[in-house]
Symmetry: C2
Amino acid sequence: MAAGKASVFIGLDLGGTDLKYGLVGPNGKILVSRKIRARTDVGQKVLVEQLRSAARELLSIASEKKWRVGRIGVGSPGAVNFETGKVFGDSPNIPGWEGVNLKKSLRMAGIPVYADNDANCVALAELLFGAARGSKSALCVTVGTGIGGGLILDGKVYRGSSFSAGEIGHTTVVFGGKECACGNRGCLEKYASVSALIDAAKGRGYANVQALTDSAKKEEQPAVELIDRQAAYLGAGLASAINLINPEEIVLGGGFVDAYPPLLKLVENEIRQRAFPAALLTLKVVKARLGNEAGVVGAAFLGSK
Amino acid sequence: MAAGKASVFIGLDLGGTDLKYGLVGPNGKILVSRKIRARTDVGQKVLVEQLRSAARELLSIASEKKWRVGRIGVGSPGAVNFETGKVFGDSPNIPGWEGVNLKKSLRMAGIPVYADNDANCVALAELLFGAARGSKSALCVTVGTGIGGGLILDGKVYRGSSFSAGEIGHTTVVFGGKECACGNRGCLEKYASVSALIDAAKGRGYANVQALTDSAKKEEQPAVELIDRQAAYLGAGLASAINLINPEEIVLGGGFVDAYPPLLKLVENEIRQRAFPAALLTLKVVKARLGNEAGVVGAAFLGSK
C-alpha cells in the first residue's frame, strides 16, 4: 500500500488464551498479523502493557512503511462500554479484568481509540467484509469453548441498553438443566458448545473432536447421533432468537463449523423445523467467512459503522 | 374535543374472540369505544365486512361530532406485512384469515390506513402512552391464552426482516418438551401462559384461576408453588431475551398479571437471578399500563412512530 490519504487500522483481539493483533487495510485485508500468548493470570497491569506494546509494535511497523494509522481498535471478553471503553462485565477467562479502561490504556500518538466486546468485533467484521455484508440484520454466532454472539440490526452492530446484547450462548434451552458459569441453568452453551460436545464424545469413548468428526464423516453411530443432537440444541436456541428478532441472516462460525462442514446444514434444518414459518421467509443461514481473523479485522473497524 | 386541526384516530383490534374498536384522541385517550363478537368462523369475507362496518360506524360518529379522522389502524393476529397490509402468517384462532389485505379492505373516505400484528399495536401503545413511554428499547409481553410479544428498539416498533419479530412466546425453554401448535416443542407459552397455568391448577384440584389466586393470596400450597413455577418459566424465557437484546424495559401485561399483582415481582426476581448481570444494569421490569385498551390505542397510532 502506498503512503497518502488511505489509512491502515490497528486491530487488537484479546482472548482468554491469545492476543492476536494486526494492521488492517481499508478493504479489510490483514497486512501484518501477530499472535502472542496473552498473560491473563498476572493481573490487569501486565495485560494492559501487552496490549500497549502490541499497539506500539504495529505503529512502528506502519511508520517504517509510511502508512498512516487511522484508528486503534480493541476487542475484549466481557461487557465493554463502547462509549467510555471500560470493561464492566465479568470475564471468567481473565480474572481481575473488570474495571480496566481500554480506551484510556491505548491512547497514543493522538490516534482515535475504540473498544468493544470481542463478539461484537466478529459481527462487525462479518458485516463489513464477510458473510453478513450488506445485511440489514444478522445474528453472528461463534461456536467454540463457549457460544458467543454479536447482533446486527438496521445494518449496524446492536449493543443494547447496557452494551450486553448478543449473548445467545446463555439462552435457556433446558429449564432446570446443567449449571452454567453465568449463574443460570440449562444455557445453550452447556449443550451445544464444542466443550459440551467433547464431554459427550468422551463419554462415548471418542478421544477428541477429530476422532468424533472422522467417525461421523463415515456415518458411524454414535458419532452421527451426538452431532445431530448438538445441531438440534443449536437449532432450538437459534429458532428462539429468530422468533424474537426475525433477522435476515444467521452467520455460524467457529472451529467446529470448519472441521465438520455438514453441521451448517444440520443446524439449518433444525431451525427450519422449529422457527415460525413467517420468520423464515427471508432467513439465510450461512457460514462465517472471516474465521480466526474476524476479531482483529472487526476491532480495526470499530466506530466505522 | 372541538373541531379544528386536531384529529381523532380509528383503532380496530381484532382478536380470536372479540373485535374491539374505537375513536382515539391525539393524547391516546379513547373517546368512543365498542366491542362486538368477531365472526371468525365463517370465512374471510364476513370478518372483513365486520371490520369495514366498524370503521364506517366510527366515521359516522366522528362526522356527527365534527371530528376529523386522521387515520384508520387495524391490529390483527398473525404476521402482517406492515407495508402492504397483507396478513401472511398463519393465525390458528382465525381459520382462513391468511391472505387478506387489511389496508385495501379498510380504504375509505381517502383516509390513510395502517395494519400491523396485534402484539405490535400493544407495544406501540405502551411506548407512546404507557409503561414504555420514552423508552429506547423494551419487550412488551402479554401473558394470556398464549404469550404475545412486541419489540421496541431505538424508540420504535421493531418488526424484523419479515414482520415477525417479538414472538417471545415461542422461545424454547424445555428442549424436547410439550408440543406446541407452532410445530416446535417446549415453547414458553406451553409452560407459562394462563392456559398452561389453568391446566396445571386443574390437575391440582382448583376449579379456575380465581380459586388458584385466592389460595395463593392466602399463601397456601400448592397454589404458591404453581405460581412460583409459572414465574420461573417466565423468568427463564425473559432472561434469554434480555441476554440477547439487552432492553431497557420488560413490560408485562395480561389479565393474570392484573388478577395476581405479586406475579410481577416474582418474575422480576427470577429474571435478576438468571440474566447476565451486565444486561441487568439498566433493566426495569414494569407492569403494562394500558390493559385491554392497548390494542385499540396502538392500532389508532400505527405509522406515527
